[in-house]
């Protein structure tokens, strides 16, 4: 720590020894005002050319996806590759994949908040946005795979003409509640975090329309400490509620599988295994998104290399647990002595979909082990490529779980080979269009980084720190 301005007043602050100094979360000793300017500036002025190009592509892909959903609604699920014996194809693979991606956002916003990981403030806003858009993409698939989409509302406990209620013994029904709660609570949490930052944009707005819209959604936030007091408590409670929520969502998704009697699905390891896999894939996606964003939006001082490094370490930890879960599954299949269970796992690794299994192992277990090396973690291009490898691997994990368990079940008469059609592929691509359309709009119109929170972790924000104006005798009387 340098000896700061108070020198002029004749007070010397004794700096802590070099080795005890903390690496600052915001690099280059940026001021509070700089944080506002750097983050809010992204959402101000004219949209840059790259944004328009990216947005146009995403928008067209999204519309193509909607067109394919229209084709599905008018024609039926026969245009997909699903059919006996693989009745759950890409739709469920994609559903589980997208919803898993959301989990990293909630882990960052809620669990790391409870664990007082102050570095999370630089990445939580974008990660939470990713969660919300990923859950939107996820939610589409179960809805459209039911076949008669116009009866989708039967999933909800709404009185209908048959006067039959939903059947709550089924995990599929639990899933409806888990996913819709997850979406709603993620949105509330995200919006609440946005309120002070919308006020920042409101106070900087130059045009009437921006003043009106940001002012409307900022709800009249003034930064009053009486408000902050309630706000911080509510934030803590939402973090406390989101933590058990995020752990329950993918657990319940896994129960969709494990409550069934099918070898390969009927296993008690599924809930923790799914949750860890979800966080793993989510961190992959956070890195995929944030590495380019910090560069394009010039946020290198806020999302520093240390942030990327820490996220790589979490990815490594999660990838290792995922590998351990794979090993446990295989061990239990052998140890159970159940021939069907043993066959299901033999079929996974050496059956007709052997390549999917080994892609999964290579991408999820082997590739992230390179994050042990600091050289890898500090090489942003390599980290970015590895983050995409993780995303691919986790998609294949869900493919392996869904398809290889179904394609060869108890009787060889029930064996078959599943292939996706171009509509399957196009619909999946369409959800990327949806995701990036929303993400680019978020990037353009909302603060990408939690401005107030990042200000709060700078040294000059601390009233007990010399940069915050503290004198040697302290600010208290």
């Amino acid at each position: 720590m340098v000896e700061v301005a108070n020198m002029a007043k004749g007070v010397t602050i004794v700096a802590p020894p070099k080795e005890l100094e903390r690496v600052p979360l915001v690099a280059n000793q940026r001021s509070l005002g700089w944080v506002s300017d750097a983050v809010a500036g992204i959402a101000e002025g004219r949209a840059p050319r790259w944004w328009w190009i990216a947005f146009s592509v995403a928008f067209v892909v999204m519309l193509t996806g909607f067109a394919l959903i229209g084709y599905l609604m008018t024609t039926g699920v026969g245009i997909w590759g699903v059919g006996h014996p693989v009745m759950w194809g890409w739709a469920i693979v994609n559903f589980v994949w997208w919803i898993g991606i959301g989990h990293a956002g909630t882990l960052i916003s809620a669990i790391l908040f409870l664990l007082r990981q102050r570095w999370r403030t630089a990445v939580n806003r974008a990660a939470e946005a990713m969660t919300i858009f990923a859950v939107m993409c996820a939610g589409i698939f179960p809805l459209i795979h039911i076949g008669r989409i116009w009866l989708g509302w039967w999933l909800f406990p709404i009185p209908n003409a048959n006067s039959i209620w939903p059947q709550f013994h089924s995990p599929l029904m639990w899933d409806v509640f888990a996913v819709s709660t997850y979406f709603t609570v993620s949105l509330l949490f995200w919006y609440m975090g946005l309120i002070p930052d919308l006020a920042v944009l409101r106070d900087r707005a130059r045009t009437r329309i921006r003043q009106f819209l940001y002012g409307l959604f900022a709800l009249g936030w003034t930064g009053s400490n009486r408000h902050w007091s309630n706000y911080e408590k509510a934030y803590l409670i939402l973090a406390g509620l989101s933590t058990p929520l995020v752990l329950s969502v993918h657990s319940i998704v896994s129960l969709d599988f494990s409550v069934s009697q099918l070898p390969g699905w009927h296993t008690t390891i599924f809930p923790p295994y799914f949750v860890v896999g979800a966080i793993f894939s989510g961190f992959g996606m956070v890195l995929t998104l944030l590495i380019p964003i910090r560069k394009i939006c010039h946020l290198e001082d806020i999302i520093t290399e240390r942030h990327i490094d820490l996220m790589c370490k979490i990815t490594l930890a999660m990838g290792s647990i995922v590998g351990y879960a794979y090993a446990t599954e295989v061990f239990i299949a052998w140890y159970s002595g159940n021939p069907y269970e043993r066959f299901a796992f033999w079929n996974r690794a050496f059956g007709p979909y052997w390549w999917a299994y080994w892609i999964m192992i290579a991408c999820n277990v082997i590739a992230p082990q390179t994050f042990w090396f600091k050289k890898v973690r500090r090489n942003l291009v390599l980290v970015w490529i590895l983050s995409i490898v993780v995303n691919i691997g986790m998609w294949f994990e869900r493919f392996v779980i869904v398809v290889t368990s179904l394609n060869r079940e108890f009787l060889p008469a029930n064996w078959g080979f599943y292939r996706p059609t171009w509509v399957d592929i196009g619909t999946y691509a369409g959800t990327f269009g949806l995701f990036f359309t929303f993400f680019l709009l978020f990037l353009r119109y909302l603060p990408v980084v939690a401005i107030a929170e990042v200000k709060g972790v700078t040294p000059q924000a601390d009233p007990h720190h010399p940069l915050g104006g503290a004198r040697e005798e302290g600010p208290h009387t």
């Binding site: 509070l32 005002g33 506002s36 406990p157 006067s163 209620w165 939903p166 059947q167 709550f168 013994h169 995990p171 639990w174 509640f177 888990a178 709660t181 709603t184 609570v185 509330l188 609440m192 002070p196 920042v200 409101r202 106070d203 900087r204 002012g215 709800l219 009249g220 936030w221 003034t222 930064g223 009053s224 400490n225 009486r226 902050w228 007091s229 309630n230 706000y231 911080e232 408590k233 509510a234 409670i237 939402l238 509620l241 989101s242 058990p244 929520l245 329950s248 319940i252 107030a452 200000k455 709060g456 000059q460 924000a461 009233p463 007990h464 915050g468 104006g469 600010p475 208290h476 009387t477």
Partner: protein
């Protein structure tokens, strides 16, 4: 003629603001507030604020959510239209637990957010301070203390002198 709303004092560091807040608290003011671009650690204590009651709203929301889930499932699958599935009980608290758990969290989260907004009397789309020119920096990099004219201890000259003694950079009168 516009009524005065209060005296606004500007500060540049959180330490000076915290120090000033302690003095104003000790002087016995009631209708006053500190405005900061981020929540300043220790400011609640410096202002003499009590623990926020938001938790009660979240708790009541959570209880309501759990009860709603359990009662809804009991009513639907046991009372109104029993659905026998695989010889399982029509209503079991175990199979009803996951949706009720989710509703606990859902209603609890609504309780926390709306409880916070209710306690803060938000949304409030008009506020005298938001019209004040220099106040826009409260969301940027400045710290403000406002003592309202409604405060029983407010005397314009004395209060201004108090704020001046607290190392404020600038003191102005805000109009309603």
């Amino acid at each position: 003629m516009p009524q005065p709303y209060g005296l606004i004092a500007e500060f540049t560091t959180p330490a000076a603001t915290l120090h000033a807040a302690e003095k104003i608290r000790d002087a016995g003011f009631r209708r006053w507030d500190v405005f900061t671009p981020y929540p300043v650690h220790g400011m609640d204590k410096a202002m003499g604020l009590k623990n926020s009651p938001v938790g009660w709203f979240a708790f009541l929301g959570g209880v309501a959510g759990y009860a709603t889930g359990m009662l809804m499932i009991w009513f639907m699958n046991r009372f109104d239209y029993p659905i026998p599935v695989g010889g399982k009980p029509m209503f079991s608290p175990f199979s009803a637990f996951p949706p009720s758990y989710e509703l606990t969290i859902l209603f609890g989260a609504f309780g926390a957010l709306f409880g916070m907004l209710f306690l803060n009397r938000l949304p409030r789309l008009h506020h005298p301070l938001l019209k004040h020119a220099s106040f826009a920096r409260a969301t940027h990099d400045r710290f403000f203390i406002v003592i309202e004219t409604d405060d029983p201890k407010y005397r314009e000259a004395d209060t201004r002198r108090l704020l001046e003694s607290l190392a404020s950079e600038r003191i102005e009168l805000v109009e309603e």
